[in-house]
């Protein structure tokens, strides 16, 4: 019994960074910009939050700085893929590499230690606030997409940007805002890695969680609440995998790798249309130019 409640608590905690990042990815991808860079944005957020918390002794200010770090990286990404029309996948991969290299480098610059920040003392860590905050963000995203004009515009920017243009709303401006917002949210997700799930920044601490958030987003068919639930499912796989590590069952170790790969497998099945059909926003990954620019 204790094990089950521990597993559930662990699930909720582990899904928190995924949820933030998936919501960020949702905003970006629904506006038509592929966001493979989530992983890098999370890393920046994780470092920013750790540095901020160490410096200010407040996890909240740390969170804010983490979000700012994500925003800064997202700005570079948006600049490349919107006005400079770089391939979104190439640029996204490059952002990931940059973040993976830049974060330990910055650590060493700031603290003289390779690849990690000083420990954040226990009272200065987050205890449960990000968990609630994540679900508030899910609610806000759901609200944004379902009830507000901005959500409608965002969806049209990713679905049919020409229609948005014909209605007099500049599609690329919407995309800019969406990508920047995704940086803020992915940054927040990263922040929870270093100030909530652990107590310092460590090298490559996102460890594929950005991609897992992307998988959850696709598994949730690009909708906020299903995507958040997919994050919980994937968080559960993660928690189960951790709990089962080294556990013997009838004398043999339980192979946790199969639990680890499950999220990715089901995402492939969804993408292939074997389990429901995930329909990406129609204009996802396509550069948009106004009627005048097209000529």
């Amino acid at each position: 019994m204790a094990m089950i409640s521990q597993l559930l608590a662990s699930t909720l905690r582990l899904s928190t960074p995924l949820i933030f990042a998936a919501m960020g990815g949702m905003l970006s991808e629904r506006s038509g910009v592929i966001n493979i860079a989530l992983e890098g944005l999370m890393l920046m957020g994780a470092l920013g939050a750790a540095v901020g918390t160490v410096a200010t002794h407040s996890p909240w200010l740390g969170l804010l700085i983490g979000m700012g770090a994500g925003l800064a990286m997202a700005f570079i990404y948006a600049l490349l893929v919107i006005p400079f029309r770089a391939n979104q996948i190439v640029a996204g991969m490059a952002i990931n590499m940059l973040a993976l290299g830049l974060t330990p480098f910055l650590c060493k610059m700031l603290y003289g230690v390779t690849g990690s920040t000083p420990q954040i003392s226990y009272p200065e860590q987050f205890h449960s606030a990000p968990l609630y905050l994540a679900w508030i963000v899910v609610g806000l995203c759901w609200y944004l997409m379902k009830f507000t004009p901005a959500g409608l515009w965002l969806g049209f920017a990713g679905e049919h940007p020409e229609a948005l243009e014909a209605a007099g709303i500049p599609a690329n401006r919407i995309r800019w805002l969406a990508v920047l917002a995704s940086g803020v949210l992915a940054g927040a997700g990263g922040a929870t890695l270093s100030t909530f799930l652990s107590s310092s920044f460590a090298r490559n601490m996102a460890a594929g969680r950005g991609f897992m958030a992307l998988a959850a987003l696709i598994f949730g068919k690009w909708r906020p609440i299903p995507a958040a639930l997919a994050c919980v499912l994937f968080g559960f796989a993660d928690a189960a995998q951790i709990q089962l590590q080294g556990v013997k069952f009838r004398g043999a170790e339980v192979p946790v790798q199969f639990i680890q790969i499950l999220p990715y497998l089901v995402t492939i099945l969804v993408l292939a249309g074997f389990v429901g059909r995930a329909r990406a926003p129609k204009a996802l990954g396509k550069h948009f130019s106004t009627a005048n620019e097209r000529e």
Binding site: A94, M97, L102, R203, Y264, A272
Partner: protein, 346 residues
């Protein structure tokens, strides 16, 4: 010529940005550059290490490039090379009695085959089910890592070691090292990589099949009108791409480690994207770009030892910046020419 100049410009720009980062960190960029060069080319052994890192990058660069020539994006080289290496190590572990040269030959073929299968899956899914190959290959990377970790931990575990790795393969499986580079583990896999690059060039440029594959990547409607089966070409391209990435297993398992180690690859698959991009998807360019990235990788290891503020990860910063500079190429194109008009819009 213009493209070559653009590549140089992108590299220079990326390096300059990276060096200015080291300057901000409190280092003398000129010194950093010197250490980089010394680390990469300062001794026989250093050159050997550079070439050791270059070898897998040639394979992954070719892998990304072949897919790209068919209009597909192979982000899955990382998974394909993991399975390739695993397959080579598995043959070695399961058939210890095999002698030279059958042993390395069979293991190499296994690496090739495993990668091919792993590449063909997203190719098939894309061509037949319309699933976007980028997302599928990213997901398959994680699946491949999970599977290979499982095999290394439970099926072929090395009882002598605490690390997650497979049992060592017999000496008969090992391919010869190139002796001139001291202790550096640069092996016959390097000439193999160069040979494969040449074969890929011949395939793409001199065979009808390669021509068709490239035509699909250039313009599917034109290829279709000419009677080329785009579906088949896509699956073929991804299968070849997977096989090429799988050959990394030859360099790693048969040429270096003698076993499959979990997480042996410092992201060769992803750096392969940069290599292909910078090498303009042409085998000669890819060999050159692989050398550049190999040198960066090796050189920055030296930076780690010889400077106070710089970590070896800074190579990723350089690589990332170079890719960003290359990917923003449309900016330069924009200055060059206006897009063609589309009569539909009139």
């Amino acid at each position: 010529m213009r493209r070559l100049a653009q590549s140089f410009l992108a590299v220079a720009f990326g390096l300059a940005l990276g060096l200015s980062a080291t300057w901000i960190a409190g280092e003398n960029p000129w010194e950093v550059l010197k250490i980089l060069a010394r680390g990469a080319f300062g001794s026989r052994e250093n050159i050997g290490m550079t070439l050791f890192y270059t070898t897998p990058l040639i394979f992954t660069g070719l892998s990304v490039a072949v897919a790209f020539q068919a209009g597909l994006f192979n982000v899955g080289a990382e998974g394909q090379l993991n399975l390739g290496a695993l397959a080579a190590a598995a043959i070695g572990a399961l058939l210890p009695g095999l002698g030279w040269p059958m042993a390395p030959l069979l293991a190499s073929l296994a690496a090739l085959a495993a990668g091919t299968v792993w590449g063909a899956i997203p190719g098939w899914l894309r061509a037949r089910r319309g699933s976007h190959e980028v997302i599928v290959t990213i997901m398959l990377n994680f699946v491949a890592v999970g599977l290979s970790t499982y095999v290394a931990l439970y099926v072929l575990k090395n009882p002598e070691s605490q690390n997650p790795e497979t049992r060592p393969i017999g000496l008969a499986y090992m391919i010869p090292r190139l002796g001139v580079f001291g202790d550096a583990p640069v092996s016959a896999a390097l000439p193999l990589a160069l040979l494969v690059a040449a074969i890929v060039w011949v395939f793409l440029r001199r065979t009808a099949l390669g021509y068709e594959l490239r035509a699909v990547g250039q313009s599917e409607p034109a290829a279709r009108a000419a009677g080329i089966d785009a579906t088949k070409m896509r699956i073929l391209a991804m299968a070849i791409a997977g096989g090429l990435a799988g050959l990394v297993g030859v360099a790693e398992v048969l040429g270096n480690a003698g076993k499959f180690k979990v997480e042996f690859s410092p992201q060769y698959g992803f750096i392969g994207i940069a290599v292909a991009l910078l090498g303009r998807n042409e085998p000669i360019g890819i060999v050159a770009a692989a050398l550049l990235f190999g040198a960066l990788h090796q050189g920055t290891r030296e930076l780690d030892f010889s400077t106070e503020h710089i970590t070896s990860e800074v190579s990723l910063v350089f690589q990332g910046l170079i890719i960003l500079a290359v990917s923003a190429e449309p900016v330069t194109n924009w200055f060059r020419s206006k897009p063609r008009i589309n009569t539909d819009e009139l």
